[in-house]
C-alpha cells in the first residue's frame, strides 16, 4: 500500500535520512522504532509531504507521491498524526474533530462518524465544548486519533502516540491501536516504546541515524532481545 524506495532527506547540509526503504501492506500495523534522532519523525514528515526528499521515491496506493502537495496527500487518505499531537489549541474539541473531516463533503456521513468517534472516546463527547488546550495528556491523544479517524484514513501514521502518557494510558492507547487494525485501518506506527509497539505490530523497521538497520517480523524481533538492545539501547 505504501512503499518508500531509497528516500533521502537533507536539512541544509545535514543528511537526515540516508536512504530509507520500507513497505506497508494493507491491513497491517508496521512500526518504525529507533532511538531519539534516528529519523523516525522525519520519515513520516517526508511521507506526508511536509519535507521534500532529495532523492528516492514514495508510492502510496499505486501512485507516486513525489512532488505532491501535502494537502493532496492527506486528501488521498494518508493521515499523519504528528508528534506532540499538534491540536488546534484554540478550537473546541468538537471543532477539532470536524477539522479532521475538512476534506470531506458528505455531511451525513461526517455526523455519523462524529457519533462513532464519540462512542469510541466518550470523554471527547463530554468535553466537546472545551478548548483543546485545556485537555489532559490522555485526552489530547484521544482527540488526535479521533480527529484522524474523522478523515476516514486509508493509512494512519501515528507519531509517538505513547509519548508523555501515564503507563496505564499507554496500555489503553496500544489497545485502541489494535482495535483500529481489527477494524481494517492500516497503520504506520512510530514509537520509542519499542516493546509496546512490537507487541501490536505485524512488521517492524529499526532506524538508526537515518538508516534502516534491521527489518523483521515484529514477533521475532520482540523475542530477539540482544538485537533490540544493540540498536535501541535500554529502550
Amino acid at each position: 500500500m505504501l512503499e518508500l524506495r531509497d528516500v533521502q532527506v537533507s536539512y541544509g547540509e545535514v543528511r537526515a535520512l540516508r536512504g530509507i526503504s520500507l513497505k506497508v501492506e494493507e491491513g497491517q500495523i508496521v512500526t518504525l522504532i529507533g532511538a531519539n534522532g534516528a529519523g523516525k519523525s522525519t520519515t513520516l514528515r517526508t511521507i506526508s509531504g511536509l519535507l521534500k526528499p532529495t532523492s528516492g521515491s514514495i508510492h502510496f496506493d499505486g501512485k507516486e507521491l513525489n512532488g505532491t502537495e501535502p494537502h493532496e496527500i492527506t486528501r488521498s487518505g494518508l493521515i499523519h498524526v504528528p508528534e506532540g499531537r499538534m491540536l488546534l489549541e484554540n478550537m473546541t474539541v468538537r471543532e477539532n474533530l470536524l477539522a479532521g473531516a475538512y476534506c470531506r463533503s458528505d455531511k451525513d456521513a461526517i455526523q455519523s462518524d462524529l457519533g462513532d468517534v464519540e462512542t469510541r472516546f466518550p470523554i471527547l463527547a463530554e468535553r466537546n465544548a472545551q478548548k483543546a488546550r485545556t485537555l489532559s495528556g490522555g485526552e489530547r491523544q484521544m482527540l488526535a486519533i479521533g480527529r484522524a479517524l474523522m478523515s476516514r484514513p486509508k493509512l494512519l501514521m501515528l507519531d509517538e502516540p505513547s509519548l508523555g502518557l501515564a503507563p496505564k494510558l499507554v496500555e489503553e492507547m496500544f489497545e485502541s491501536v489494535s482495535t483500529l487494525k481489527s477494524e481494517g485501518t492500516t497503520i504506520l506506527l512510530v514509537e520509542q516504546n519499542a516493546y509496546g509497539a512490537l507487541a501490536v505490530a505485524d512488521y517492524a523497521y529499526v532506524l538508526r541515524v537515518g538508516e534502516v538497520v534491521v527489518e523483521k517480523d515484529a514477533r521475532s524481533l520482540l523475542t530477539d532481545k540482544s538485537l533490540l538492545d544493540a540498536y535501541l539501547g535500554e529502550a
Binding site: L50, H71, T74, V81, P82, M86, N90, G100, Y102
Partner: protein, 303 residues
C-alpha cells in the same frame, strides 16, 4: 484643557469622536492582523490597498459619478487586486525565507506603488489632494449636548457589518475553518488537508478587501483623497494591530478604538504637540508590560 462647565461634556464628546475615528483605524488594522496572524510577517504594503482603494473610490464616485454602493464595491475590489499582487510578488516566491525578507519586499512594493500612484494622480489631476465625494459631510445628529457626525456613523456601521461578515466567514464557513487551521500552524493545516497556499491567498484577498474599504471610508470622512494615504495607513494600522494584540482580530478592533480614543483624549487633556508621543509611549509601555497586546491572551492566540 480648562476646568469649566464644559469640561465633562467635552471629555465625553471627545471620547465619542475618538472611538468613531478609531473604527477607521480598526479597519486598517484588520488586514495587518490577518496577515500577521496567518503568516507571521509584517505586510508593509498593506497600506497600498488603502491608497488604491481610496483612489478607486475617487475615480468611480468622483469622476464617473457612480452611486456610492457601487463605488464602494470598486474600492473593495481594487483593494483585493492590490493584495493579490502583493501576495503574488512579495509573498509567494519568498514564503520560505526569513520573515524579514517578505517585509523588505513589501517595503519595496510600498515605495514603488506610492510613487506610481502619485504619478497617476499627478497626470490625471495635476494635484495630489483631490476632493472625495461625501454628500453627507455636514450632516450631524444631535443628542442634547452631544453630536455625532453622520459620516462617522456610516463608517462605524460599515465597519461593524464588515467585521460581522468576517466573523461569519471565520466561524461558519469552510474557508474560515481553513483559515483557523492555518493560523494554528502551516504544518498542521497541511496535515488536515488544507491547501495552505490557496487559503493564504484568500487571506490576502480578505485583507485587501478590508484595506480597500478602509481607503474608501478614510477618503469619505476626511473629504479628500491623496496618494500618500497608504503610508499613513501602514503606520497607524501597524500601531493599532500591536496595541490590540498582534494577529488578533478582536484586538485590532479594540486597538483601533483605543488608539482613536487615546489620540483625541490626550490632545484634549494633555498636549497637542506631544499627542503622538503620548500614544506611542503608552504603546511602548504596553508592549513591555503586556507584550500580547490588550486583547491577545497568549502570543499564539491568533484570529
Amino acid at each position: 484643557m480648562q476646568f469649566d462647565e464644559f469640561f465633562f461634556i467635552d471629555l465625553i464628546q471627545t471620547g465619542i469622536d475618538g472611538a468613531m475615528l478609531g473604527s477607521v483605524y480598526a479597519l486598517m488594522a484588520i488586514g495587518f492582523a490577518l496577515i500577521w496572524g496567518l503568516l507571521g510577517i509584517l505586510n508593509l504594503a498593506h497600506g497600498q490597498t488603502v491608497a488604491f482603494g481610496m483612489f478607486a473610490g475617487l475615480v468611480s464616485a468622483g469622476h464617473l459619478k457612480l452611486p456610492i454602493p457601487i463605488s464602494f464595491a470598486c474600492a473593495v475590489v481594487t483593494g483585493v487586486l492590490v493584495a493579490l499582487l502583493v501576495e503574488r510578488i512579495c509573498y509567494r516566491p519568498i514564503r520560505r525565507a526569513h520573515e524579514l525578507v517578505p517585509m523588505i519586499a513589501t517595503l519595496g512594493f510600498w515605495i514603488t506603488t506610492e510613487e506610481i500612484l502619485q504619478k497617476i494622480y499627478f497626470h490625471m489631476y495635476f494635484k495630489d489632494f483631490m476632493p472625495f465625494p461625501n454628500p453627507f459631510t455636514m450632516t450631524r445628529f444631535t443628542f442634547g449636548e452631544f453630536v455625532i457626525r453622520f459620516d462617522y456613523v456610516v463608517t462605524m456601521s460599515v465597519a461593524v457589518v464588515l467585521v460581522a461578515a468576517l466573523y461569519f466567514v471565520i466561524y461558519r464557513s469552510r474557508l474560515g475553518m481553513a483559515l483557523r487551521m492555518v493560523a494554528a500552524g502551516h504544518d498542521i493545516a497541511h496535515l488536515m488537508g488544507v491547501n495552505v497556499l490557496k487559503t493564504l491567498r484568500s487571506a490576502f484577498m480578505i485583507a485587501g478587501a478590508f484595506g480597500g474599504a478602509a481607503g474608501y471610508l478614510l477618503g469619505y470622512v476626511a473629504n479628500m483623497a491623496n496618494p500618500y494615504a497608504g503610508s499613513m495607513a501602514t503606520v497607524k494600522g501597524l500601531f493599532t494591530m500591536i496595541l490590540g494584540g498582534a494577529g488578533s482580530i478582536p484586538g485590532a478592533i479594540v486597538g483601533g478604538i483605543v488608539l482613536g480614543f487615546t489620540e483625541l483624549e490626550s490632545a484634549y487633556l494633555f498636549s497637542f504637540a506631544y499627542r503622538d508621543a503620548i500614544a506611542m509611549g503608552l504603546l511602548f509601555l504596553l508592549l513591555v508590560f503586556r507584550p500580547q497586546g490588550l486583547f491577545g491572551t497568549r502570543v499564539e492566540d491568533k484570529i
